[in-house]
């Protein structure tokens, strides 16, 4: 040991507890950036219940299984039936399993934020090197990455399955990469929205209910409006249906994905034309910026 003990209790018998005294810490202090990265890793793992109690692993792992299972079944069917194409495009998958990421962010965003609020742990973070913005960035990044892992894993399964089924390599690689871009878009938007809602209430249950309501009700609302507009059958109706996609996070991210990758939307109608695509992208970026801004503002007041 390189440091000498400052105090030592003399040993006189076999059953003496040695007090080696206080040893000052002379090692390195890695500062703010390291603390932020540590908080990010800790939170991202926490979203899956890793390094936490067994019971907190149950829900995220069930959801993870739920999002991967359909992909595995599809791959199995494609390989066994020797199909010569996938039954749907990779980019459609997120909307196909839409409830699963919704439940995931609803359950885990409050887990990431509400606990620190409810048990007033927040001042302990802010009295350390990291700043309020660092805290927000670490949590935002953690929620985004956790959601991305949830969305990207089944896509990887589908892609590997497509290759095993000896489907055309180039076409599917391009489609797969496009779907990953889409997964990033969905992850950013879902993480931002769910964290903003979770940051408002220290009560976890309320946060969960609020997030699931906002995500699913807005999705139902937007899809219904799109469906009604589309049913009118004329061009104006079709355009209106496209714009209605702006009304929910899922249809917004789906529209951005379709416009960026040049694929069909998974939902009813995509953004109308190039102008529509640009507007969708701007609204998307604006929404994420707004979520970040609101979070920073929320934590500035604490």
């Amino acid at each position: 040991m390189s440091t000498f003990p400052r105090t030592a209790t003399e040993s006189t018998g076999a059953d003496v507890i040695h007090d080696i005294g206080y040893r000052p810490y002379t090692g390195e202090r890695l500062g703010r950036g390291y603390a932020t990265r540590s908080l990010f890793v800790h939170s991202a793992r926490g979203a899956y219940g890793l390094s936490r109690s067994a019971i907190s692993k149950v829900l995220p792992m069930l959801l993870f299984a739920a999002v991967c299972l359909p992909a595995l079944i599809i791959v199995a069917v494609v390989i066994m039936a020797e199909m010569d194409e996938m039954p749907f495009e990779f980019t459609d998958y997120v909307i196909f399993v839409v409830a699963v990421p919704a439940i995931f962010v609803a359950a885990q965003a409050p887990q990431l934020l509400s606990k620190d609020l409810r048990f007033a742990t927040v001042p302990l973070y802010f009295s350390r090197p990291l700043t309020r913005s660092d805290y927000v960035r670490a949590k935002f990044a953690a929620m985004t990455v956790a959601t991305f892992v949830l969305l990207a894993t089944p896509l990887v399964i589908l892609y590997v399955g497509a290759l095993l089924a000896e489907l055309p390599f180039g076409e599917h690689t391009e489609e797969f990469l496009g779907s990953l871009v889409g997964a990033v878009a969905f992850s950013l938007l879902l993480a931002g929205l769910s964290l903003v809602i979770a940051s408002v209430t220290p009560r976890r249950g309320l946060g969960v209910a609020a997030i699931i309501t906002v995500l699913m009700v807005s999705y139902g609302f937007a899809s219904t409006l799109q469906g009604i507009a589309e049913d009118s059958g004329d061009a104006a109706g079709h355009t209106a249906a496209g714009w209605f996609g702006l009304l929910s996070p899922f249809t917004l991210a789906d529209g951005v994905q379709s416009w960026l990758t040049g694929t069909e939307v998974a939902g009813i109608t995509g953004p109308p034309g190039t102008a529509g695509g640009v507007v969708f992208l701007l609204v998307f970026i604006g929404s994420i910026g707004a979520c970040y801004g609101l979070l920073v503002r929320r934590y500035r007041r604490l």
Partner: protein, 317 residues
């Protein structure tokens, strides 16, 4: 006798200049200028005196309306992030997640202070032992007693071996034994660990026992800042309760004053202040005088100044 290695230089560890914090309806700090030297420094004031506000400004948890503050020679606003690497904070309120064990929580907080993972684990084990948490450190915090929770709060403030710790009402909610243990521990933080301490309390008597220096604030203003022995000199008071009759009591008071003691009558209690000379001598004088005047002595104890007395004394002087 533990060898004290002071790792802080002898200049002020905390220094504020005309520090003011104005909330919409109250002024929490009013032009507070104070210097705090290394050692154990007590910050005393009634509830709402501005103690917590001062600590929050020093930690960057709140912004000052005007004035400036330095800790360890660094500006708390412009160099806050660097500074907080070397500062520990134990808040007054509960701040512990009940589902984590003390070890898990303190390791996490050590990393948040910038310690590498392996050092964080090692320091956590050491620190929890120093604050007196042993086997229970692996159990969830939710099942801890108040005393154990206070120890965890203290451990997370010490785990990164700061140069100074700010302890906000660390004895709150503790029973008398727990209180004594916590006070002894706070004293050790300086004498054995070599870490400067700023500790707040609304009980002066408590801080007298462990502090080198006491700062009294009231209504956000500095009331007094002096070494602890100056306070204890003032608190050399004897509360003497005698059994009437009153006329003899008056004679006895006169005799005591003649013997060089200052006496004030508070109801049935004579407050005898020892101006000079030692305590034992004064106790003898009081006893002899009481007996000589044929009074029954029903109680005599060392009086202890409370905050209110300091405030009224300071206000009237």
């Amino acid at each position: 006798m533990p060898l004290l290695v002071s790792r802080v230089c002898s200049v002020s560890v905390i220094s504020t200049s005309a520090l003011t914090k104005q909330y919409p309806r109250v002024t929490a700090l009013d032009q507070l200028t104070v210097d705090v030297e290394p050692g154990v420094v007590g910050l005393v004031g009634a509830n709402g005196a501005g103690k917590s506000t001062l600590i929050k400004i020093l930690l960057g948890l709140a912004d000052a309306t005007s004035g400036s503050a330095q800790m360890l020679g660094k500006n708390v606003v412009t160099e806050g992030s660097d500074l907080r690497e070397r500062v520990g904070y134990m808040p007054e309120h509960d701040c512990l997640p009940p589902d984590l064990s003390a070890t898990e929580f303190v390791v996490h907080m050590a990393r948040m202070s910038g310690l590498p993972a392996s050092a964080a684990r090692e320091r956590t084990a050491d620190t929890l032992r120093h604050v007196g948490l042993y086997e229970e450190r692996y159990r969830p915090i939710g099942g801890y007693s108040t005393g154990m929770k206070q120890r965890v709060k203290l451990a997370q403030a010490l785990v990164h071996d700061p140069a100074i710790v700010l302890l906000d009402e660390p004895t709150n909610g503790l029973d008398p034994i727990g209180r004594d243990e916590m006070l002894a521990l706070i004293r050790r933080i300086h004498t054995e660990f070599g870490i400067s301490v700023l500790v707040t309390s609304h009980l002066l008597g408590e801080l007298e026992r462990i502090c080198d220096h006491v700062v009294v604030i009231d209504g956000g203003r500095l009331l007094r800042s002096s070494a602890t022995d100056e306070f204890t000199r003032v608190t050399r008071l004897l509360a003497v309760e005698v059994i009437e009759p009153l006329d003899r009591e008056v004679d006895a008071v006169a005799a005591l004053v003649e013997a060089g003691l200052r006496v004030t009558i508070e109801g049935r209690v004579l407050m005898v202040e020892i101006i000079d000379g030692d305590l034992d001598g004064a106790v003898d004088v009081v006893r002899d005088t009481v007996v000589a005047h044929g009074l029954g002595l029903s109680r005599m104890e060392q009086g202890r100044h409370r905050m209110t007395e300091i405030f009224s004394d300071e206000a009237s002087s």
